[in-house]
């Protein structure tokens, strides 16, 4: 998809004015956040498991070439095929080539963020294939020609009436007077419509939550069972995965799985966790006849060895989105590309460049909530600061911001002058507020006062109070 991350500020204004979106986002606090907290409280080992998860991924990244080669060998041993893709375009062509071998028409899909990253659906459609998303949320947004607004709940920005609307517009062969006002009616309709697609699909494409080097297995985690039907019923199963998904052993994946569902939906374990190894075996009554894994780099190997390497530990649980005050206020579409929220603010500039996505690492209050809930202990705020630094170094920040920063830096390097100036400014501002204690308007601070009042400084500065206390103590 064409990124609109550069237009983040305009996107945000639209999002805040969108009443439907604001109502839909209101469901988030009662859902994900409360459930995660309860699930974490039930598992005393959760913090230790986070340390372990970080260690597993760090070890894997340090030996990534070894584990990918081992994974490839074991996929091949099990009768599958591994394909390497440097870029989104290479991955798309590889997938198309596999689809062409069986003259595929319908391609069912399990939910995959990598598929969004490489804009696979648009490509397959242009090539005359019919990609069908089967995760309920993905199916809804595919019908609406939208991007996902959340990495595990793609349609979280919608209310049920909007889903009813698009189902009525699409499923025109069903009786027009059928009841469709309730969530269960919508779910049932999608189930029966998509079941037909599962049965006629020639190829099923899923993502992967993990790749297991030891066994050559790929792992998907779902609640609906759509990923399983996607990969079991067609002739060919294609797994599309970015290469940092690999872990060494079944036990390593298991340890991280204990973190994943709890951090994501607050479940103890997702409904379906499925390990797939090669194609169906001789004599098996079902399962795909061919098994392909497309390993995508798309800029990730370049993140290794940099200050953004830690981002490659991400398991796409969405805890950082769910807990982010910015995401909660504006939803995912405002971020303007595939990955929203704090993880997106770090990952997106790596994948599409800081010039396009420089707004995103600036869209943070640095409250630190994201890092505090990240199961893989990724220092997201620190990495957003790194992106801000790079943006500054490359001269991409706006001129007034750069001038302001230079002015501030001049004083910050001269503490005595800084304190004198700060004290003077505080007294002046205090007096200018006219005793009201706040400003509703202030020159150069319109960005702040446009949405809220600026408190006027009162009393003594921190440094003055600090020195006074030290004198008292002495």
């Amino acid at each position: 998809m064409q990124p609109t991350s550069h237009a983040f500020k305009a996107n945000v204004r639209d999002a805040l004015d969108d009443n439907t979106l604001q109502r839909a986002l209101g469901n988030m606090k009662t859902g994900f956040i409360g459930k995660r907290a309860a699930a974490v409280a039930r598992l005393p080992e959760f913090e230790a498991l986070r340390d372990q998860g970080r260690a597993i991924k760090n070890h894997t990244l340090e030996n990534l070439d070894f584990y990918l080669e081992t994974f490839e060998r074991n996929v091949t041993n099990a009768g599958g095929h591994v394909h390497w893709a440097r870029t989104a375009e290479e991955a798309r062509q590889l997938i198309l080539g596999i689809c062409r071998t069986v003259d595929a028409k319908t391609v069912t899909k399990g939910k995959s963020m990598i598929s969004e990253e490489i804009a696979l659906n648009d490509f397959l459609e242009a090539e005359g294939l019919v990609p069908v998303e089967t995760d309920l949320g993905e199916y809804i947004i595919q019908l609406r020609h939208e991007a996902p607004s959340h990495i595990i709940a793609p349609a979280i920005h919608l209310l049920k009436g909007q889903v009813e609307e698009v189902f009525r517009a699409t499923h025109t062969d069903l009786p027009a007077d059928r009841p469709l006002g309730e969530v269960h009616e919508l779910t049932d309709e999608a189930r029966s419509v998509l079941r037909k697609q599962f049965l006629q699909a020639d190829v099923g494409i899923t993502g992967a939550n993990f790749l297991i080097a030891e066994t050559g297995s790929t792992v998907i985690v779902t609640n609906e069972g759509n990923g399983d039907l996607t990969q079991t019923l067609p002739k060919i199963h294609i797994v599309l995965a970015s290469l940092e998904k690999v872990v060494p052993t079944l036990e390593d994946a298991t340890g991280i799985l204990r973190l994943l569902a709890r951090s994501a939906t607050g479940q103890e374990f997702s409904t379906y966790t499925t390990f797939s190894t090669g194609p169906r075996r001789p004599g098996d009554p079902d399962g795909p006849g061919e098994f392909h894994v497309v390993l995508l780099d798309n800029g990730r190997t370049a993140m290794l060895g940099t200050e953004f390497q830690d981002m490659l530990r991400c398991i796409r649980c969405s805890a950082c989105l769910n807990h982010c005050p910015v995401y909660q206020s504006v939803g995912g579409h405002a971020y303007g590309w595939v990955y929203p929220g704090p993880m997106g603010s770090v990952l997106t500039p790596s994948l599409i460049g800081v010039k396009e996505a420089g707004n995103l690492p600036n869209a943070s209050t640095f409250c630190g909530k994201c890092e505090s809930v990240c199961p893989m202990r990724i220092p997201l705020p620190k990495m957003m600061r790194h992106w801000r630094e790079r943006e500054y170094e490359q001269g991409l920040s706006p001129a007034p911001f750069r001038a302001g920063l230079k002015l501030w830096a001049f004083f910050a390097k001269r503490p005595k002058l800084y304190r004198f100036g700060a004290g003077l400014a505080a007294r002046l501002l205090g007096r200018l507020s006219g005793g009201t204690g706040r400003f509703t308007k202030l020159p150069l601070a319109g960005g702040w006062t446009g949405g809220r009042d600026l408190p006027a400084p009162e009393g003594k500065s921190f440094m003055q109070q600090w020195q006074a206390r030290r004198r008292e103590a002495a």
């Binding site: 005393p44 309920l136 066994t215 039907l229 390593d252 390990f275 075996r281 290794l304």
Partner: protein
């Protein structure tokens, strides 16, 4: 340079090293060979067999699976028949050709019409065994094979799983250990894993519309477990 070589090169360049030599590869290779379990939560580690069975049932019921506990294999067909009657479900079953299900006296319930094989689209009810059950989270572990079709776990509206008490383990790691032991005996070289290992925790669900949980998104709407309490469960 081809994509594979270039990606591996790029990894090594970023990590500022060449390919791992024999000595350096010994660490990762050893990790794979030993596949040591990591931290295992204490939730299950102090429980005896009865405690594991109880925890499994509690956790499975928490995620809307239903469980009938029966005392002997002879009681299984009756428990299945009663479940179907009480839910107004048809008596037509599709059952895995799995020989471990043959020990239950299905002929005692002649009203059950049983077909053995993989699932077809309109099948309402499936019956399968399981490889193991994980008490830690109320999770069933099913593996595919010539007589264990994966489709039975996914397509019918109602999935009934017959589980023996000795199949209930504490953590996932114990189930992996059992699977490795079994596969070592009968797997073809290179195929250390079955094609499919399904961990199933409750019936299918979605929260994709307004975060309201609905059961039966694409997989079974109902997951019923018949737990056969063996001597293991009583004496441990």
């Amino acid at each position: 340079m081809d994509a594979r070589s270039q990606i591996l090169d790029s990894i090594r360049k970023s990590l500022k090293r060449g390919p791992l030599g024999e000595a350096a590869a010994a660490g990762p290779a050893g990790r794979i060979a030993s596949h040591a379990p990591g931290l295992i939560p204490a939730r299950t580690t102090t429980l005896d067999a009865k405690g594991l069975g109880d925890l499994f049932v509690r956790m499975a019921e928490e995620v809307q699976a239903t469980v009938t506990r029966v005392a002997a294999p002879a009681d299984v067909p009756g428990a299945v028949a009663e479940y179907l009657t009480s839910h107004n479900l048809p008596a037509d079953l599709t059952m895995a050709p799995d020989p471990t299900l043959d020990v239950y006296p299905w002929d005692d319930r002649p009203l059950l019409r049983i077909r053995r094989g993989r699932a077809q689209d309109l099948d309402q009810v499936s019956v399968t065994g399981a490889f193991a059950a994980i008490a830690e989270t109320g999770t069933l572990m099913l593996i595919s094979g010539n007589d264990r079709p994966t489709t039975l776990n996914l397509m019918p509206d109602t999935h009934i799983v017959v589980l023996r008490a000795d199949q209930v383990v504490g953590p996932y790691e114990t189930a992996w250990q059992r699977l490795r032991a079994e596969q070592a005996g009968n797997a073809q070289p290179g195929n250390t894993m079955p094609r499919t290992v399904n961990f199933i925790t409750g019936p299918s669900r979605t929260g994709d519309i307004e975060q309201r949980i609905q059961l039966g998104a694409h997989g079974p709407r109902r997951l019923h477990i018949v737990l056969v309490e063996g001597p293991d469960a009583k004496t441990a």
